[in-house]
Amino acid sequence: MRTKIETNNVHLHYGDFHALKGINMQIPERTVTALIGPSGCGKSSYLRLFNRMNDLIDGVRIDGKILIDNTDIYAIPQSEVDRLRRKVGMVFQKPNPFPKTIFENVAYGLRVNGLKDKKLIEGQVEKALRQAALWEEVKDKLKKSAFELSGGQQQRLCIARAMAIEPSILLMDEPASALDPISTGKIEELIYELKSNFTIIIVTHNMQQASRVSDYTGFFLLGELIEFDETKKIFRNPEKQQTENYITGRFG
């Protein structure tokens, strides 16, 4: 399998705080990688490196190399960041639809990136909604406000929104933590379906979720990547004692 994302000795500082300490990881294409670990371990910060979301925070310093498709994404000029973000979609912890109609939510990424062709946009919106397994539920109310959807539907809408601009990578920051079990199940099913088209990285607090949906799992602790391996290996027989303690709930 081709390597999609590669990080070499990545360090991240927020001011004086050393948030990530020399992370090395190679993520193959079209797989699901789960990042697990206790709160504040740096997994979310790590995820946000891939679409340069950390740029928005003051006092951030990043060392090391992060390669996506063999390009160092921190060596590109500022004007290329938008293009990077088109390639790397993101889904957030809580459903965060825009205060627009369902249709416009999904079309947003297309519009802000300069597409005007109405037919093309309609086609992409439908495709994305179908991919997100939401089309059947919303096809009759595309003009309704996105806030009228349930929490789980809103989150799938956000996934559709991210997919509409056809990224090759999907970053998911605890995408189901604010949802009920049924909606969570649907999101997990969706992730499982999507991996045939996308390289997915998912941050999760929920170890069952990590084991259910992912092919690879990385365990973070205090800004370090303790272990990174196939999910089967991590959950059956982890190398490191810390990993074992964490996933068996003996952490502390």
């Binding site: 004007s79 290329e80 938008d82 293009r83 088109r86 802000v112 300069g114 597409l115 992409q124």
Partner: protein
């Protein structure tokens, strides 16, 4: 695969630069206008202010002399209105936040105090004139004016109190109840001390607001020209904002009294500035104290 227009990112950046510069320029212009107002008045008025200006009676048809009666009148009005409004306002705030149960009564009191806050000051003036000046027979007097101004300050104080109390975490209350303290005791010993700095801040801002109000005192206290100090609360009095209004629009010699007008305006600005600074000081002083605990 969809393909995006090639130049789209450059275009986006260009639009952003333009939009941000417009916002920046507008913001600086607003700031400039506001500063211009302040400096325009301060520059012309600051030279007028001296000991005599502050302590002398007006003379020569208010073109010369000082503004002592106006200062004293405003002082009376502020003090009296606050003495009336502060306890009533704080107690009302306590009622709304601590006592009133959810439901019709609380809704009613809240709605009414909210509406009170939106009533234009001239309507307070009308009301004050109808009730205090005429119905209760106080005549145009410091008492009638203070009562009117108190009504005006009331919603401000109620709201500040309410919000300060709301900011006190419920755990403090529960802890106090758990120790066997009653409701009143809890409010007096636990809730109020924590909320107090904010309430005081509200009081100070209320003073700033009341001292500058003109419309409510037009018909309830203000004397056009009264070169003596008031002796009792039933006397008419001059007041700073009304004085400024009068000498800038209908004095005997408007041009000649301009310096006095500038001076009066500066005094009013300084009062507001002082009250703001004081409020900020109180806020930061107490918040540091609370943090240290």
């Amino acid at each position: 695969m969809i393909s995006f227009p090639t130049q789209v990112d450059r275009k986006k950046r260009f639009h952003q630069a333009i939009a941000f510069w417009i916002a920046r320029i507008i913001s600086y212009s607003i700031l400039l206008i506001l500063f211009f107002i302040l400096f325009f008045i301060l520059k012309r008025g600051i030279g007028v202010i001296n000991w005599e200006f502050l302590t002398a009676m007006p003379s020569d048809g208010m073109t010369k002399g000082g503004i002592l009666p106006a200062i004293v009148g405003t002082l009376y009005l502020v003090l009296m209105s606050m003495v009336i409004a502060f306890p009533v306002g704080v107690l009302s705030g306590i009622y709304v936040n601590e006592y009133a149960k959810e439901g019709a009564i609380k809704q009613f009191v809240k709605m009414m105090t909210n509406n009170l806050a939106g009533v234009p000051s001239i309507v307070f003036g009308l009301f004050g004139m109808a009730l205090f000046v005429n119905r209760l027979g106080f005549g145009a007097s410091i008492l009638a004016g203070s009562l009117t101004l108190a009504l005006l300050a009331l919603p401000l104080i109620i709201r500040t109190t309410e919000e300060s109390l709301k900011a006190v975490d419920d755990t403090f209350r529960h802890a106090s109840y758990a120790l066997g303290a009653g409701k009143l005791r809890t409010i007096r010993k636990v809730v109020l001390p924590i909320a107090f700095p904010n309430i005081i801040t509200g009081l100070i801002l209320g003073i700033g607001r009341v001292s500058g109000e003109t419309a409510p005192i037009l018909f309830t206290v203000a004397a056009y020209f009264l070169p003596k100090l008031p002796h009792s609360v039933f006397d008419q009095a001059m007041a700073l904002p009304y004085h400024l209004y009068v000498i800038s629009t209908s004095g005997t010699n408007i041009q000649a009294s301009r310096p006095i007008a500038y001076g009066t305006a500066v005094i009013l600005i300084l009062i507001v500035l002082g009250m703001n600074l004081l409020a900020n000081f109180v806020r930061s002083h107490y918040s540091r104290k609370v943090k240290m605990k």
